[in-house]
Amino acid sequence: MLNAVEISHLTVKYPDVKALDDVSFVVKEGDFLGIIGPNGAGKSTLFDSMLGLNTTYTGTIKFFEQDIKKSKKYHNEIGYVPQKPEFEKNFPATVSDVVRMGLRNESDENKIDEILQQLWIHELRNRRIGELSGGQLQRVFIAKALVNNPKILILDEPVTGVDQQSIELFFSILRELNSKQGITIIWSSHDLDAVNKLANHVACLNRTLFFHGESEKFFSNDELVKQYSEASMQEHMHHH
């Protein structure tokens, strides 16, 4: 198996604090990694660095053996679903307009319909983006991320505005993408139960990497689980 992602000695310093301190881990192709950690643990900084939005780090980040500071090709390999898709509420774009934005090869129109069908939002394709519910929006942004057939999907789990039914659907979509299509998934989440059900690897981040390994090992370690469920509970309360 190839290394889909390889992070070595990643350190990000802000004027007062180290947001990330010497973080190293590897994600193999086909892995489903759940990243957990309390608020301010550096999850966003980690994602921003991986996505090329923050370049002020030391250490290296590689996608499929390519250093992202040296090769721009990695943009084609990753799909990204933001935690809170921000846009002007009255932006005149339909669901298919938004998915089309993600499409690099514009002649590939069929791909849009295909992906909308796969995510159960085909009937929404001509709706304006501002009229959708949180769960529908989340699926539209997954569709946008998937429309180029990325090998890696990076997701920031939304914490509010998504109903229970949509969450279940979201989980089953993730499971299918990973197990049937072999897409490597990196998923930041506050929901330990969900991580336990879905992910096969877990990374616990709190500025440094506390744990990284198979999820069974993590969930059989009561001390770690207790510590992180408290932390994530606090985060959960914070968001509500």
């Binding site: 939005l53 943009h75 990753i78 932006f91 005149p92 774009a93 938004v98 993600g102 514009e106 709706r127």
Partner: protein, 272 residues
Amino acid sequence: MSFEILTYSFMHRALISGVAIAILCSVIGLFLVLRRYSLFGDALAHSSFGGIALGLFAGVYPLWTAYGVSILSALIITKIKDRYNISGDASIAVLLSSGIAAGLVIISFSGGFSIDIFSFLFGSILLISVNDTVLILTLTGGILIVILLLYRQLLYSTFNEEQAKVSGIPVEKINYLIIFMAGLTVVTSIQLVGVLLISALFVIPNVTAIMYGRGFKQTAIISISFSVFSVLSGILISYIFDITPAGTIVLFSIGLLGATIGIKSLGLLSKN
């Protein structure tokens, strides 16, 4: 009332240039409005006033100096805004007042206002020359081609800069390109409605169209239609009643916006 006016060649030039400018302003304006840059057209126009004064003072064709000054100052102010983290509306205010201030000082050096200045302030579409018409058509064609070629990049970076960056779009370059094209558009449009009313062409048809359109292309087409309608009616009606074309065009445009708000508030315009 006869159709005689449609046989005059100055009227042909006015109508053709007017339609081209209407299309151009709608399309560029839609990107600016959605980027919350609605007043940027105004700022560019006011800074071009400095350029026009400079041209009149130096004996150069004023629109050439206007192109130079407005595009250059727009790019500089954007650079300063990004570097020093000045908010968008404040940077627009700086750009707007510095153009007028420089223009006023230059004019007072050259001995005060002349009739030329007024035609740039309020537009002079009926006096447009063949050369100007050709220039307007060329620029319109060129800018529309660039927009079509870079459509996805322009739309995506307007929708959400961060996500556009993640998918590898050179967002910063695209932003400068939009500002550059807006600068060209503003100076080109001065002849139609003048410095003082340009932002109306950028903003009003788009604000109206956003209330109707669902998708982006549909909204752009609606905006272009409203804008072309306002410009054509404005030019013709103003000629017939011997009133100012610039003001008439903008009032037509505002009329369409008012009617749309009326229709909406009566609940006649369904959301879907």
